[in-house]
Subunit: 523 residues, 2 copies
């Protein structure tokens, strides 16, 4: 690759003689003389530079794939080239990427997807009838019976119906309307689309978007892209990262001085913090949104990932309806789900949906218009979403295997959540709240003053310095807390619990050893 670039830089001579000398327009002929004089010079200034680019894009940060991950990539290349390190592989615990960590796909999901992809397989005796039934249903709803056709911009009709039926079951009968369901390219796409529609105003009336701190950095990134105003509310680390409505009140009050707070984002179960909101807390949040006239965004992509026996997932939609018509007829809510997390971990398909409640009919029209510009979400991702909301049921051929696979993944995650909490809390200078849900630990780490000074001398956030050292010395790639936001003077990192149990134990032991050595070195 380097060689090719060098070739180009030195001025590539095409095999076919360029016709530039053959058929010149008069303007071109004039230019040709100028060019002869210039061709020896160094390349001229670029049009698109850090100075000239979109400043909002420049301001975007996204730690989950930031500098630490680039460094991890470099180290992997060095290992491949045989360079000796104190470890033999990089362990990417920076991102919730289940299959990359060895989790096997759910067989039924992939069978349906294969049947949809290559319908000749519908004649094969090697595929179960329930998988074929679902594949036929999806294909019948696709133009020309092909996954290769564009779908409606809002998503395939019958898949939206299946999503609505799933939500109704999940929420104990609270009805869902397929017309309120929009299939998306992963949850990230849905979240940024809704935020894009919501942002308006200038100066002090610019839209403020309330997000938790710590947050998942998609939020801060999109807020920056859209030039909206980020309004932080802090989760209570002393109280298992619970959300406190008084803190929401403080945040909105202070924000009103410099923007128009219009949106409240909630991540439940929490990312990176792993807390699962109580029903009472959700009621309080909904009441607060009602009172303050805030549009609610409920990021519920970890709805299947709840591990603590004393926690349960409650959807915002369900609680909203159970609070009665004053709330359920008024509070505007968009909630998000995805194929990427849960027990299926199908990140690569970029499947997801959002459900909107109380969206103004004219805004629904605007939303469809906006979505139509990018035509439709990937139809294969839509099909994957369908299997997630419409899995095998008791009595169907594939049910037993499906349940076994699903429970194995979720059971293992629960085990690893407990293991991680317990082991981290045995390390002096590390404190880890219970991982009630999602798939991350976000432990608080003590960084000694001398290490903080050294980091500052390197112009690095102290937790970035810590994570870089951890990566360099152990090969373990985690994301510094500063990438998610944290209270001034506190330090954390986010680590996934996705590696297989035995590997996770090794990882935790290595972090422990590293941490003790680190404390010692900078004591």
């Amino acid at each position: 690759m380097q060689r090719t670039v060098a070739l180009v830089r030195r001025g590539y001579r095409p095999r076919v003689p360029g016709p530039w000398g053959r058929s010149q327009s008069s303007a071109a002929a004039e230019a040709s003389a100028v060019l002869k004089m210039r061709s020896e010079r160094s390349p001229r200034e670029r049009i698109l530079t850090l100075e000239s680019m979109n400043p909002q894009v420049k301001a975007v940060e996204y730690a989950v794939r930031g500098p630490i991950v680039l460094k991890a990539g470099e180290i992997e290349l060095e290992l491949q080239r045989g360079i000796k390190k104190p470890f033999t592989e990089v362990i990417r615990a920076n991102i919730g990427d289940a299959h990359a960590m060895g989790q096997q796909p759910i067989t039924f999901l992939r069978q349906v997807m294969a049947l949809c992809t290559y319908p000749n397989l519908l004649d094969s005796p090697n595929f179960p009838e329930d998988a074929k039934k679902r594949a036929r249903r999806i294909l019948q709803a696709c133009g020309g019976n092909s996954l290769g056709s564009y779908s409606a911009s809002q998503g395939v009709n019958c898949i939206r119906e299946d999503v609505a039926a799933y939500i109704t079951r999940r929420d104990g009968g609270v009805p869902a309307d397929p017309d309120n369901i929009y299939l998306t390219t992963g949850a990230s796409d849905g979240i940024s689309t809704i935020l894009k529609i919501l942002v308006s105003g200038g100066g002090k009336s610019r839209t403020g978007v309330m997000i938790p701190i710590p947050q998942y950095p998609l939020y801060s990134a999109v807020i920056s892209e859209l030039d909206a105003i980020q309004v932080n509310y802090y989760l209570d680390e002393e109280n298992k990262w619970a959300l406190n409505v008084n803190e929401l009140r403080r945040a909105v009050r202070e924000a009103k001085d410099h923007c128009d707070p219009k949106v409240l984002c909630i991540i439940n179960p929490g990312n990176p913090t792993g807390q699962v909101q109580s029903r009472k807390c959700i009621e309080d949040v909904i009441h607060f949104a009602w009172e303050e006239k805030l549009f609610l965004l409920a990021d519920e992509v970890y709805q299947d990932n709840v591990y603590s026996p004393d926690c349960r997932f409650h959807s915002f939609k369900k609680v909203l309806y159970e609070m009665g018509p004053e709330y359920s007829n008024n509070v505007e809510l968009a909630s998000f789900h995805s194929t990427s997390k849960g027990y299926m971990g199908e990140c690569g398909y970029r499947g997801g949906y959002m459900e909107v409640i109380n969206l103004h009919p004219e805004i629904k029209g605007q939303l469809v218009k906006l979505l139509s510009v990018r035509l439709c979400p990937p139809v294969s991702g839509q099909a994957a979403m369908d299997i997630v909301v419409n899995p095998p049921v008791p009595g169907e051929e594939s049910f037993e295997q499906f349940i076994k696979e699903k429970e194995s993944v979720l059971g293992n995650l629960a085990k690893k959540a407990k293991l991680t909490e317990d082991l981290f809390n045995q390390v002096p200078g590390i404190h880890c709240n219970p991982l009630q849900g999602a798939m991350y630990a976000f432990p608080r780490i003590f960084i000694p003053a001398k290490a903080v000074e050294t980091a500052q001398a390197h112009k690095m956030a102290p937790d970035m310095f810590y994570c870089m050292k951890l990566l360099e010395e152990t090969g373990i790639c985690v994301v510094p807390g500063s990438g998610f936001g944290q209270r001034e003077g506190t330090y954390h990192f986010r680590m996934t619990i996705l590696p297989p149990v035995e590997k996770l134990k090794t990882v935790l032991q290595k972090v422990k050893d590293f941490h003790i050595k680190f404390l010692d070195k900078y004591a």
Copy 2:
């Protein structure tokens, strides 16, 4: 669906009694009294309305899926309900959606995709070895050997290598660097990402983006979303929709009064206009971009769709390199390709790539950062892109069938392009330039003064009025020229040539009959 909504509006009573009465916070208790007073009132004002929404999103228009297509959907529902019409089906000739029009997927592509989706099939004797080889190679490059893992934000490495090799072959040896290849979610995503990075400045220094008129409305939509300035240059209808550099000069000169023209978008082969640029014209454009310091965007998604025997596709990249180092070291270019068009027509997979030339290294970093916020393009779409750039070669088991299928699709399109041009030009009051490439006719239609007046009385663009009547009377759905832009006082529509030959003949005959009747009615 209607029933469910009604249920909700009347105030849904959940099966489980709402805990709102059980465990109220004090703030909630206070509110409860207020609520009792309010609960009989009509819903309060929404937060998100046409007035409060993002005005740039509100300004977006996207005709290809606009009002005419909504109307087509309504008519389809009416037909399903047994309502009598002068036709039995709606023919959606509004969008380049090949499979929806009955085109069959390329077998080899779907075989590789099925193998990647459900790797158990790698043991099946029913799949050819060359397909298995490609599937294995793709899976080996995916985390955990699964399409379900996130890829690198820039796309799977080995697929980017295959894209670079394809470009090098296509361009007769001009080298391509995998590091300059970014896989995308269809071409639309790549185009909007690059434009997003390019837009900056305020007032008279706001970025101007030059686009052809007629254009593909993705461009105007994204320009509106980004609040950039649209700078129109007109294609020359009298000259087979050729691009004339003097018109570019006029456009840029006039634009400089009110914005900073920084980007020049070219669609070649043209959409909706179907012209294929001559090599001379591309040279002139590149020279113009060099001279005026414009960032070039080359939308080349129809590169395989060239039908006129006297036309050939020349990539901007190749011509740029053959013009010598002053150009090839300086002109900044992004070019786009897609799985959705060509002979494969795999729109639903949302696969695509862009190649960037002379992008500043710091901007490459910014681009990867921006892409990483949405994690990665759909990996199944990336795999589809891989098969497009790395198809069976002579000597491989699947070569013969692949070539047969590919040539059949392209041969048919060429036939239909000629047929459409010829038939339209037999109709009085319709003039159609040759369909040199792409997959659309964009005929000019004469609309009598009385029809123009009637349209204006209905507050409709005259060509929208015409297309609505065409739809209502024949079931044929085409897009009015006003959705793409056209010279004041001229009227057109865009129609795909994707229906099978016999059906297309019927469609053309129906348009002819309709047009003659229309002229007669409004004479």
